[in-house]
Symmetry: C2
Subunit: 382 residues, 2 copies
């Protein structure tokens, strides 16, 4: 991989942004990232977004946002890969730089989900799954994850309460993140008594719909930055069957295993070298499966790591260090860019009270659908 530096990051708070349109939200993140990068402009804009066509009656976000932030006549495209849209956009941006066609690009993820009634958004979210084999049968996206979690509890003999530690950790870390949606801690009692959504997934296993935008500026040129330099040293995507029913093993994320293995190989590092892992905890079951597929523990042992306290920001494998999808929030097409901004904050030493102690290698992993498209990025600090 050609060496690519992260020059700037920009985030908006994750919440219900009733007062801001899609372009304003995205523009705020882009301009913040450009300012943080300290460069006047870029040669391309890559937009990650899942559902603006249906949720906001606006497609063509590449041209829309390029126009809004004054980047006319550049290359501008939108990339959609469901919840992994942002990461695919980053990958495309990296490849554009790698090809030598451009020097610097901005990658922005934006999603505005609260404009639509929640039943409509639920119907739109399941378009990330197989419309013929899953969505068309009436399965919601939560229901698909509930089926996976049911099977996992059955196979590995965990109880639902064993998953509490994932959500408790995420909320504890979000308290200190000004961009997070839920800045309040939760405890075991709150977790076990939360309202059931789709058995066994309850309200505190899942992340809610939200609005938000995040952006990064990446470049072939390391630039002159006031920040500790951060580079992208691994970037890999892999797909699996789109429907769960076609998978040989529905409680194993093959695409995550494949994409992390490639990213480790590109980076020349191993799981034990990772100082922070921003995983895709849209549901607590996905937190467990991600840890296993990325090689941090044996199959079926994800909840053990959480219950032993190893996932805390000062533990062995810090995850969701600024709140994760669970508590920072999950505006789907933007989520992965929040993850990458957060990994960059950690590697730069700008993460505040939940700063990790080994800020050399960070990994962000984004899951599209129920595990059908998984993209892994590894960053290194000098």
């Amino acid at each position: 991989m050609r060496e690519v530096a992260v020059l700037g990051i920009g985030q908006t708070k994750v919440e219900e942004h009733w007062d801001k349109s899609l372009r304003i939200l995205a523009g705020e993140a882009v301009l913040a990232a450009l300012q943080d990068a300290g460069i006047p402009g870029v040669e391309g804009i890559f937009v990650g977004n899942m559902m603006s066509g249906s949720a906001n009656h606006q497609q063509h976000l590449g041209a829309l946002i390029a126009d809004w932030v004054g980047l006319r006549y550049t290359e501008a495209v939108r990339i959609e890969a469901a919840c992994s849209s942002w990461a695919s956009a980053l990958l495309a941006g990296l490849m554009a730089i790698g090809s030598g066609e451009v020097e610097s690009v901005v990658v922005v993820g934006v999603e505005k989900m609260t404009d639509s009634p929640s039943n409509e958004i639920t119907a739109q979210l399941v378009t990330a799954a197989d419309a013929d084999l899953e969505g068309g049968l009436g399965l919601s996206f939560v229901a698909l994850n509930a089926l996976i979690m049911q099977r996992y509890l059955h196979e590995y003999h965990w109880s639902h309460a064993d998953f509490a530690a994932f959500s408790i950790n995420a909320h504890a870390n979000a308290v200190h993140n000004p961009f997070a949606r839920f800045r309040k801690p939760i405890d075991l009692q709150a977790y076990t008594s939360a309202a059931m959504i789709c058995d066994p997934i309850n309200l505190l296993d899942a992340t809610p719909i939200a609005d938000g935008a995040a952006a990064i500026v990446i470049s072939r040129n390391p630039g002159v930055s006031a920040h500790r330099p951060v580079r992208v040293i691994g970037s890999a995507a892999a797909t699996d069957t789109i429907s769960i029913q076609n998978r040989k093993d529905p409680i194993w994320l093959s695409a995550a295993e494949k994409s992390t293995q490639i990213a480790y190989r590109q980076s020349g590092i191993q799981p034990k070298d990772i100082g922070v892992f921003e995983y895709h905890d849209a549901f607590s079951i996905m937190a467990a499966l991600s840890l296993e597929a990325a090689g941090f523990c044996p199959r079926g042992q994800g909840p053990r790591l959480a219950n032993e306290g190893k996932l805390k920001y000062d533990g062995e494998i810090p995850v969701a260090t600024l709140g994760g999808l669970k508590a920072r929030g999950h505006p789907v097409g933007a989520t992965g860019l929040y993850q990458l901004c957060e990994v960059t904050q950690q590697l730069r030493g700008q993460a505040g009270p939940t700063q990790i102690s080994r800020p050399y290698y960070g990994m962000a992993q984004n899951i599209g659908g129920s595990g059908s498209n998984i993209i892994t990025h590894i960053l290194e600090a000098e």
Copy 2:
């Protein structure tokens, strides 16, 4: 630009495909392109599509189609840039190869527009324009083009009938293309008496909604092909303001001018070297504006080329040689890949009765929105 070869092409007929789902349609094109390329597989799939989320209740087409054609564990993304989605997907594919990360990829464009009632599709199409400044005011996409055409007729003193030659030429060429939707010729009388849609655009100025898929396989490795080798030597994108009202000159395609200039420079050729120009004649006014912005005639003189017969397949500047958007059809996210397949057919000498006489350089140009994102590719035959 790193040298990239076109190894294979695949197309389905453009029509109302009531009997085929999105994945089946896309799969047919992908498998045809792989077979034409004579290679067993590729390392990535890039999907161009505009509106599957709203029109087909299915997003996440990268994973969906990769799964369907048996390309699991590859990179798979969908790119949306309205009517220029496909071309953006090709550009991303070229960059992926250029970056050295992959050797061969398949790029597929697919759109299935006839599943929805036509009033819904009309509403979905205008999401390519500015939702706040255009679509939200009740302007349809045809209406936006009608405003541009009105202004053009006024400024340059052409009559509506002067645009007939564009549509007549497109229909004449489509007669011989088995993948074209309208394989019947039209004459001046039919054109001038066609039903008005939005003054001055009538039924024979515009392309209708349609279903279709087309694919190409591109590679760093020229391979061992039975076909005359074809290479991509130019690929450039440029954006303009998304809304027409913000443009300094609404009857000049600045983004087309910019992207063709870059593509000519990359290729080291000039307009006079182009043997075939597959332009984006979604509306006849766009045919005229494209010819002008790409440097084939002075400003305001596009209709003259058509009326002098220079645009015929055996003329000076062959366009729409297999029917163009007007008569081959315009399944929006797939259109540009049809264009590229057709340019490849011409350069290989496989275009049938409308084969051009100078098969060395071909250009395809795709317009997103009303000119807000324009992508130009130049191909060369050995």
